[in-house]
Amino acid sequence: MHAYITSIGLISPQETAGNRFSFDLTYENAPLLRCIEPDYKQLIPPLQLRRMSRILKMGLGAAQICLKNTENLQPDAILVGTGLACINELETFMLSMLENGEQGLSSIPFINSSHNTVAAQISRMLHNHGYNSTYCHRGASFESALTDALMLLNEKNAEHVLLGGIDEYSKQYHLMLQKLGHAAVGGEGAAFFLLSRVPAGKVFARVTAVRTCYKPAADFIDTFLSAHHLHNDDIDTVLCGVNGNMQDDRIYDHPAERIFRRDTQWASYKHLCGEYTTSGSFALALAACSLLDGRFPASCILRNPRRPQRILIYNHYHRLNYSLTVVETVR
């Protein structure tokens, strides 16, 4: 199974919402990374825009940026991975329900709290009747949606799949995480990809494998590599999800010491987008752009800088949801 990344639309804490992505470090030592949002009026009909929640604007905006680069191609399927989905709308409705004794509630936050809101509204905006699904599995949401996208292309049921990973910062949720010692810089983002079955137009890179695991066995990376007929030295770069939390980051020591060669390039990305449940989608955008550019941005390289050819994105969320994604150059 594989997919060619033929377009990317990215709204992130970096200057990435335009035509040219810049992964230059915009913030340093910020306690929290919020998205630099584009002028949505250029992307979404103003009448619809007024009633939209922020996550919906981010999702529709990033999807539009992605499709604009393809001359508004109509995808055969729309897939979204979102860990916490419309958590702020959910919070609004719940709080209003609890504080007002279940009286006089507005239906708007309830409607907008449905987890599939972003994927469903993209289909409405595009008048798209294709396959439409949403995965909400915390740290494995985006990779679950990516798995489904690869299946659709493999089944030849789709030529082009619009795939997105999206999560919005929630103050309430972030405070809970901090109280419980999950200290990491919070983040958010919306990353959309057009995945194509055959290479056409501008091709960033090719995704060749993805796997998600829940509390996996110690040898799951070896199992994954051998299942895809890959040897440890076929991977020249590991783009890992270090987030500055010592307990979380210790996870990456084992593969660095035991699995991959000493001269493997190691890179990181969460200093650019913060920690959030679908940060893997930002990582995939960064990996795809770095394969095209032939190098990672300087701030990302942890050791052994080299020209990346085949990248393993290795991330975990709170040591529960693990994911592995292989993305490689097409040149």
């Binding site: 199974m1 729309i78 860990g83 989905a85 958590i87 959910l90 409705f93 719940m94 329900m97 609890l98 004794g101 279940e102 009286q103 509630l105 239906s107 309830f110 409607i111 449905s114 987890h115 599939n116 809101t117 994927a119 469903a120 509204q121 289909s123 409405r124 595009l126 008048h127 798209n128 009747h129 396959y131 439409n132 699904s133 949403t134 995965y135 909400c136 599995h137 915390r138 494995a140 679950s144 798995t147 489904d148 299946m151 493999n154 089944e155 309430q172 949720y173 809970m176 995480l177 109280k179 419980l180 796997r211 998600t212 695991c213 829940y214 509390k215 996996p216 066995a217 529960l320 949801n321």
Partner: protein, 393 residues
């Protein structure tokens, strides 16, 4: 490659397990009644509650309770998921077992009941597990020892139909050797109030496809199926084949379906095409049939569009169990399997008066019939339409 259902589990307002469910469906006994489990100003609105309390569920599941916290959605999910896994035995040791769960409420029932505590410094690390859709899935995975491809689908009321569809495709694409797929949702104050703001909750108990239908009735529950490919399924376990499946987006409105049922007709046709069946091969339809003005007209018109003047017997189980949201699609799968296994057509509870707009009325009697292929529909917010076809093997 054929994908079989080799096990199933269910818990709803009409009982736990296939046997209790079957006997209630046969008698048309409804599980709908008053709200007993939580305080609400909307006490007059009937719902389909599962009889067991959270404590009783923990007891039945032998879960540790000291210093542990569970959402009701997760407990219901584990009850049905465990039944499903226990009822399926594989020939050879199966290597890759996946879990595709579905929910719309996640840990919301716990969240709304303990909102203050969760916002305070007293929050316990494990309670963080109860705040999203993944927490209940993790409990099921952990308890049943599943680690590979553990995920959660959330597409509103079609969620678990999509979980089954994804599970079947995982097997067909060689990503898993066995998949536990289904969904779970508890009744929460959040959903009760949410649907109430839309003014679509029935004050009397839902009456699918009735001219005087007055809204949906929330139910709660969970239902799961075990999916396996032909090569590893134990012949004695095979309950049916999942022969057809399709997912389309109606792209019509954020919360309601089109009056002409365009999206529903599209998805039914696509599912028939995947199954390589024609409309007259379908022996009965397990309808989404929520009892709202909009759904039943839209679904009814779609059925007329596809089946024309040969409309198969159709019924919705929601008059008995209510609308179990994310569990509705997988509950529909279990009802369909029971229909195939027993060669029975179940009555559509709550129906009295035919809809003037439609040329047909639902099946109201328990009947013996030859049932080879069952169509099961699930339609959700955002125009998320999914149809599944289950066939006798």
């Amino acid at each position: 490659m054929k994908v079989f259902i080799t096990g199933m589990g269910i818990i709803t307002a009409i009982g736990a397990g296939a046997d209790e469910t079957l006997s209630a469906l046969k008698s048309g006994r409804s599980g709908i009644g008053g709200i007993r489990r939580f305080d609400t100003v909307h006490r007059h609105i009937p719902v389909g509650e599962v009889k067991q309390s959270n404590e009783e569920l923990c007891d039945l599941l032998k879960l540790p309770t000291v210093g542990r916290y569970y959402s009701r959605t997760a407990l219901l999910g584990l009850m049905a998921a465990r039944q499903a896994m226990r009822s399926s035995h594989s020939v050879t040791p199966v290597r890759r077992v996946a879990l595709v769960n579905a929910t719309t409420t996640g840990g919301m029932d716990y969240h709304e009941m303990h909102y203050r505590k969760l916002s305070s410094d007293d929050i316990h690390a494990q309670e963080m597990e109860l705040l999203d859709c993944a927490g209940g899935t993790h409990l099921i995975a952990e308890t049943l020892g599943i680690t590979d491809n553990v995920t959660t689908v959330s597409t509103a009321c079609s969620s678990s139909a999509n979980a089954i569809l994804t599970g079947v495709r995982m097997i067909r694409n060689g990503l898993a050797d066995k998949v536990l797929a289904g969904g779970s949702d508890a009744i929460t104050r959040f959903t009760l109030n949410g649907f109430n703001t839309l003014e679509i909750l029935s004050p009397t108990g839902c009456r699918p496809f009735d001219a005087h239908r007055n809204g949906l009735t929330l139910g709660e529950g969970a239902a799961y199926v075990v999916l396996e490919p032909e090569k590893t399924a134990l012949p004695d376990d095979v309950l049916c084949v999942v022969s057809g499946y399709a997912n389309v987006s109606e792209a019509y409105h954020q919360t309601s379906s089109s009056p002409d049922g365009k999206g529903a007709a599209m998805v039914i046709r696509q599912a028939l095409s995947v199954a390589a069946l024609s409309p007259d091969d379908i022996d009965c339809i397990h309808a989404h049939g929520t009892g709202t003005q909009v759904n039943d007209l839209s679904e009814g018109r779609a059925v007329e569009t596809v089946f024309r003047n040969q409309i198969p017997p159709l019924s919705s189980a929601k008059g008995c169990i209510g609308h179990t949201l994310a569990a509705a699609g997988s509950a529909g799968a279990v009802v369909s399997v029971l229909s195939l296994g027993e060669q029975l057509l179940f009555p559509n509870t709550g129906f009295n008066h035919p809809m003037p707009e439609l040329s047909f009325q639902p099946n109201t009697l328990l009947r013996k019939a030859t049932v080879n292929h069952v169509l099961s529909n699930s339609f959700g917010f955002g125009g998320s339409n999914t149809s599944l076809i289950f066939s006798r093997y």
